[in-house]
């Protein structure tokens, strides 16, 4: 309990520093915020444009497709909010400054993964959550179990996202490469902007079982809509847990390969 408290306080301090640092430049922060908003709006327009011509994609209505898109944005943005530090990790490795992290009485994975939250993503979450609540009411009301399952599966998606980020960090420790791998992750997850059921096989299977984007992005919304079987839910939790444990083990192995590049 004491350790949890210690890390919570540490996270608070690191987050406060990160927020101050990013918001120090209001011009830059505003431009990035505008860019993020436009990116959301542009894909939203694209989605609606598609639905003006076709009423359904793989049996999903326009409202349901938008719900999937908003759920994707909720998970993606929350992930970026907490794990933004991963994007800055390369600098620590190539300069050898990661040595300083390793010598501190703090878990290096904690520092590398959640050591610099992004306030812009926190701001982006507000409209996403508002729109999700509004749309869920339109889709037939909010029920206790559907919301509970939705939130639990979102947490599971978050666990998978953490696993992906840990794998990216592990690769960075071994090879110092991070910029492209994190963007490959972003590109891959962007396939979850639409329900993965729309993709044809074998891609659909790959996105569910091999690279669990579907479990991460599509399953929560399907559970909310009552379209996910109990077996699929169980599978989702098993995949989430196994993926996370595996990624932590890979991280631990990667640390043994760290060579302190330029120190």
């Amino acid at each position: 309990m004491k350790t949890v408290r210690k890390y919570f306080i540490l996270w608070g301090k690191l987050t406060a520093n990160s927020f101050l640092s990013i918001l120090a430049s209001r011009f830059g922060a505003s431009i990035f915020l505008l860019g993020k908003t436009l990116r959301f709006l542009f894909f939203f327009v694209f989605l609606l444009t598609i639905f003006t011509k076709i009423s359904f994609i793989a049996t999903y209505s326009v409202a349901q497709a938008v719900f999937f898109f908003l759920t994707f944005n909720l998970i993606d943005t929350t992930t970026q909010l907490f794990f933004r530090e991963v994007y800055r990790f390369r600098q620590l490795v190539v300069t050898g400054d990661f040595d300083l992290v390793l010598t501190k009485p703090m878990n290096p994975l904690f520092r590398a993964l959640v050591g610099g939250a992004d306030p812009l993503d926190l701001l982006m979450l507000i409209p996403y959550i508002g729109l999700l609540i509004y749309l869920s009411l339109q889709l037939g009301g909010i029920q206790f179990w559907s919301v509970t399952l939705y939130l639990i599966l979102i947490l599971n998606g978050f666990l998978i996202a953490a696993g992906f980020h840990i794998l990216v960090l592990a690769l960075a420790v071994v090879t110092t490469e991070i910029d492209h791998t994190i963007m490959i992750y972003r590109d891959l997850t962007s396939m979850g902007r639409v329900p993965i059921d729309i993709y044809r096989e074998p891609l659909r299977g790959i996105l569910t079982f091999i690279i669990p984007i579907g479990i991460m992005m599509t399953f929560p919304a399907k559970a909310f809509l009552g379209l996910l079987s109990p077996t699929s839910m169980l599978l989702a939790f098993i995949v989430g847990l196994v993926f996370f444990i595996l990624s932590v083990r890979i991280w631990r192995f990667a640390l043994t390969q760290y060579s302190s590049a330029s120190s």
């Binding site: 444009t49 490959i184 396939m191």
Partner: protein, 249 residues
Amino acid sequence: MVYRLSFVLWRVRIVMQLLVTYFLWWAIFSQHETLFGYTQSMMLTYILLSAVVRPFVMGTRTQEVGMMINDGSLSNYLTRPINLFRLFWSRDIADKSLNIIFAIGEIAILILLLKPSIILQANITVLLFTFLALVIGVVLFFYFSMLLSLLGFWTSEIWGPRFLSFILVEFFGGMLFPLDILPESLFRVSTLLPFSYFIYFPLKVYLGQLSVISMISGLGVGLVWALGLKLLTELLWRRGLMVYSSEGK
């Protein structure tokens, strides 16, 4: 080894970006023969060829100019008897050549693996117009990107505007879809912007969907944009040099 891995992952990323868009459109067309006036083969041709057109038009090193201004290393170039614009044209040509070679190889592999029905344009006139549209796109993008970098003379926040421009170019340039599928009002807005000349216009010409008059007028408007951006960039360069303080050096 480190740089080789970085290069390989960069190419993987490029292919991944293409596949994400390709599979999305492939899925959308699974239940329809024609959508928005495009057959599946036309749309997949557009998406696949955009992966070649994009590095050809948008492959650039001009973003480095902004960093050079901000960290003061621009001074090293100003003291040499070289024209910075020509230097970056040379760098861009080298960069584009490398990108194109790999992009063509990757597309060829993808075509062999995915076996999509694609359109091979055989009309010499259309191919000639496509080439001209590509050249205009290259010139336009060079000056557009250089313009963003020159903002470095007045602010150290050069990545924000570039990020914003990428979002705009991705949408209004037609990187995800042909612009004419958009609602009429948005499509009109997109034709007023220079971004449509980066991807959409050259590919629209290649697909043979434009009349000769439309192609000529499109090239004319593109040329005006290119000239306008060139003059604006040169003006900003001259003004920028007056306020340049070689900060950091």
